[in-house]
Structures are given as C-alpha cells and as structure tokens.
C-alpha cells in the first residue's frame, strides 16, 4: 500500500495547486463581477451579468473544453497550458457564483453604514474598501467556504484536459494494481482532509473579520 502513495501525492500536489490558484482567480472574479453588478454604469452591469450567467449557466466541463480545445483554433488562436486552463476555468466558474454571494452580502450591510460614510464625507473608494467590504466579507464567509470546497471537488474534472490530478492518479493506479478499495479510500480521505483545511482557513479568517463583534451578545 505504501507504494501507492508517491503517485497519489503527486496528484494531490496538482490538485492543491489548482485549488489554491483557482481560488485566487475566483475571489478576484467574484469581487470584480459583484462590483460591476452593483455599478451605476450600465455597460459594466451588463458585462457582469453576461459573465455571471454564462459561467453559472453552462457545464464546467464544457467550459474547460472550450478553453482547452476551442481557443487554440482560429479565430481565437489562444494556446493555454492545461494547468492554466484548469486554474482560469475553475476560477471563472466559481467566481460567477461567488459574485452573486458577494453582491448579496454587500446588499445586506445596513444602509445606515453608507449613510454614516456619506455624512462623514468619506470618498466612495474609502466607503467601499474600509467600511462596506469588510462587513460584507464577514457575511460572505459561510457561503464562500461552500464555494471553495466546491472548487476543490471540481478539480477532479481537470484530468479530462490531461492534467494528472489526484482523481486521475487514483484511476490510473486502480487500473494498474486493482487495489480498488485502498486507492479510492485514500483518495476520499485526501479530498476530505483538503476540504477540512479550507474550512479551517476560512474559520480563522472569519474570526479575524469578526473581531469585536458579539453576535447575539451585548448590543
């Protein structure tokens, strides 16, 4: 069983890299699209809506195929490595869901906060970056954790665009050794541990953002 580990861990490392970088792309996309979605400038709003609906409304696998197989063809002629496609594809896809989560969280910040900013003459940038966003992020953490775990699990699709991730290595080893129970048991465990790490990280972030808040305590 020990002989299984090196290959599985190689696959795990790919899965971790795709998840981490994909998460960064997803968070950036979510933030930009949420901002676009609530922007007073109509073309920005439309752009954000098109992005969100296209990436939410179609299959992730087909999106990955598009980026990997269709973009290199004319008229696009954009050739990306499988790894880049995995990171960008997963990031764009989960980012579209994240944008709606973040938009809801921004909306949920009480209106009085924006009014206080206005009365204090804070610039729109300061208002958003220093007052509204930190409060919205706190509210977005539970659904955001769901999305990042979803992103982790969706990385198993990248083997279909030739990346040797954890799921791919598990299938490969199974064919070679037929130690089916051990291999898929280990793969399951590794995904579970990774998901728990995401959970832990998000909890730490939540604690940081919630400093000073006493939910249900004194008010």
């Amino acid at each position: 069983m020990i002989e299984l580990l090196p290959l599985l861990l190689q696959g795990t490392w790919i899965t971790i890299k795709v998840t981490l970088l994909g998460s960064l792309v997803a968070i950036a996309c979510a933030l930009l699209a949420a901002l676009g979605r609530i922007s007073p400038i109509a073309p920005l709003r439309w752009l954000a809506i098109v992005y969100i609906e296209v990436f939410r409304g179609s299959s992730l696998l087909v999106q990955l195929f598009w980026l990997y197989f269709v973009l290199p063809m004319p008229p696009f002629n954009i050739q990306l490595s499988a790894f880049a496609v995995a990171v960008i594809g997963l990031g764009l896809n989960i980012g579209a869901y994240g944008a709606e989560v973040l938009r809801g969280a921004i909306r949920a910040v009480p209106r009085g906060q924006a009014e206080a900013c206005h009365a204090l003459n804070l610039s729109p940038m300061t208002r958003f970056g220093r007052i509204i966003l930190p409060q919205a992020l706190l509210a977005a953490i539970p659904p955001g954790t769901n999305l990042l775990i979803e992103l982790l699990k969706n990385t198993s699709l990248v083997s279909l665009i030739t990346l040797s991730d954890l799921a791919f290595r598990a299938r490969q080893l199974n064919q070679a050794t037929l130690m089916t129970l051990e291999i898929f048991g280990l793969a399951l465990l590794i995904y579970f541990v990774l998901a728990q790490l995401i959970n832990l990280g998000m909890r730490l972030l939540e604690r940081r953002l919630a400093r000073g808040r006493m939910r249900g305590g004194l008010s």
């Binding site: 009014e115 206005h118 204090l120 003459n121 220093r130 409060q135 000073g212 008010s219």
Partner: protein
C-alpha cells in the same frame, strides 16, 4: 395655506443677514407624496433649533436633505451662504454642483443618527479617527489626539479600544457624536438621537448635547420627541406638519401658548402620553 407662522420670533442676538442654514422654497416629493412643501427656514449661526411634529410630517427629511442623503425636487438649500447642490458657473447662474464642490459644502455639516451607525468592525478610536485621517488628511497622531479629547468630552476616554458591540446604546450614541464632531462641522444635525435608547440612557446623551451647546458656537438642528429637552435646550422650536413649518417660536411661546389648533392638538396628545 401659507407657510408663515403666527410667531416669527428669532432670538434677537442672532444676525439676520447671514443665516448659517437657509431653506428657500424647498420641495421634496416621493412619488405622489410631498414630504417637504415649499419649505422656508433660516437658522442663524450658533442657533439651536428643535424640530417637533407628528411622524411623516417631514422633520427627518429636512435633516436628510440638508445632509444630502436625499435630493430635493425644487428650491435651494444654503449652508453658510453656499448652495448645497448647485454652484455658480462662470456667468454666476446656478448649475448642478460637481461631486467635489458638494463634498466641500457637505463638510460643514455633521449628523448623528437614530441608529448610531457606528462602524462595527472598528474600535471606538478608529471610528473617530477614520474620517479625519482619510478626508481631512490629518496625521495619525493628530487624529488620535483629537479623538481622545472628544471622547473625554463625551465621557468615554476609557473606552478607546472597545468595539461598538461592547458598549451600551447610550455610549454608542456618544461615540457617534464624537465621531461627527471630529470633522469640525459648523452645523450639527441630530435625528431622533435618543429614540432608540432605553429611557435611563437618554439622559447621558442629552447631557452631552447640552454641554456641546454651552461650549461651542455650533449651529444645531435636532429632530426630537423629547419635549422637555427641546423646551429647555432650544432657542427656537419648529412644529412641522404636512411638510411645512406650521408654527414656530421660542420654547416658551410654542409650548406655553401655541396659537394654532394643530399644534395644540399635537402637544396635548404628547402630554397625555407622558
């Protein structure tokens, strides 16, 4: 119906030529509903004006349009002689003001809200220093010193590192007052600042406002349901009804000898409730 009241008294020691705040024919509508109806009001520098009246009479809207939280549909509002939403162009005629101009004029006005609206993720100190640092460009040390002085004035010098959630409502509202004062406004607006507080916490907030009135030449407009406080504190009381000043006068005149039927009915209803 005219907007003129029976009493036209303004304290004799206030200059009539240069009001700190002036509403001229200000109208504000929400769809069919007219919340401010050709309102005229002038407030002298240093004058304390209490605004009372039934709910929906436009008293909070008066403060909100002055803070530019709402736009107006007609008329002009001036603060220290400068129009709030319009600016003179090269020919001297008024055109809608740029954001930069509006921020300049808005800086003369500060506001305290019924629901405090402190920033929950910041300490008391950060709440008070944020805008002076970001907007006025104060250095951190200066802003901290200003915050410490103001928090001492409202009696909260020992709560600098607390978060709003760790304070009582009355303490939060005192922080909100300090936060608004840190911007050194010329006009302070108080929008039902004790309405969200338990009765025993109102006193500490009203005491702060009282001291503020004694110590500063600050112009104050306050919407309040605390008739006792309005009577004792204000130079002038305005009774609002249906988007207009129905009657106004010194506290003694308005509370002691209201002239109009609607005012009398309102005051006796309020008295019965207490």
């Amino acid at each position: 119906m005219t907007t003129l009241s029976t009493h036209t008294a303004t304290p004799a020691d206030t200059p009539q030529d240069a009001p700190m705040v002036a509403f001229r024919g200000v109208t504000k509508r929400y769809g069919e509903l007219t919340v401010l109806d050709h309102l005229d009001l002038q407030v002298a520098e240093g004058e304390k004006v209490a605004i009372i009246g039934p709910s929906g009479s436009g008293k909070s809207t008066l403060l909100r349009v002055l803070m530019t939280l709402e736009t107006i549909d007609d008329g002009v509002i001036e603060v220290d002689g400068q129009p709030l939403t319009h600016m003179p162009d090269a020919n001297g005629s008024l055109v809608p003001a740029s954001a930069r101009y509006q921020r300049g004029v808005r800086g003369m006005v500060g506001m305290v809200f019924q629901s405090f609206n402190l920033f929950p993720h910041m300490t008391v100190r950060q709440n008070v220093t944020e805008a002076p640092i970001r907007v006025l460009g104060l250095r951190k040390a200066e802003a901290r010193q200003r915050a410490e002085e103001l928090l001492a004035m409202v009696g909260l010098e020992d709560k600098l590192e607390h978060y709003p959630a760790q304070l009582s409502g009355g303490q939060q509202q005192r922080v909100a007052i300090a936060r608004a004062l840190a911007m050194r406004p010329k006009v302070m607006l108080f929008d039902e600042v004790t309405s969200a507080l338990d009765p025993e916490l109102c006193g500490e907030v009203l005491n702060v406002i009282r001291r503020l009135g004694d110590a500063h030449n600050l112009t104050m407009l306050m919407v309040t349901h605390q008739m006792g406080f309005a009577r004792e504190f204000a130079d002038r009381v305005c009774f609002f009804n249906e988007g207009q000043i129905h009657e106004q006068g010194t506290p003694d005149e308005l509370f002691g000898n209201p002239q109009r039927e609607r005012t009398q009915a309102f005051l006796s209803a309020v008295n019965e409730a207490h």
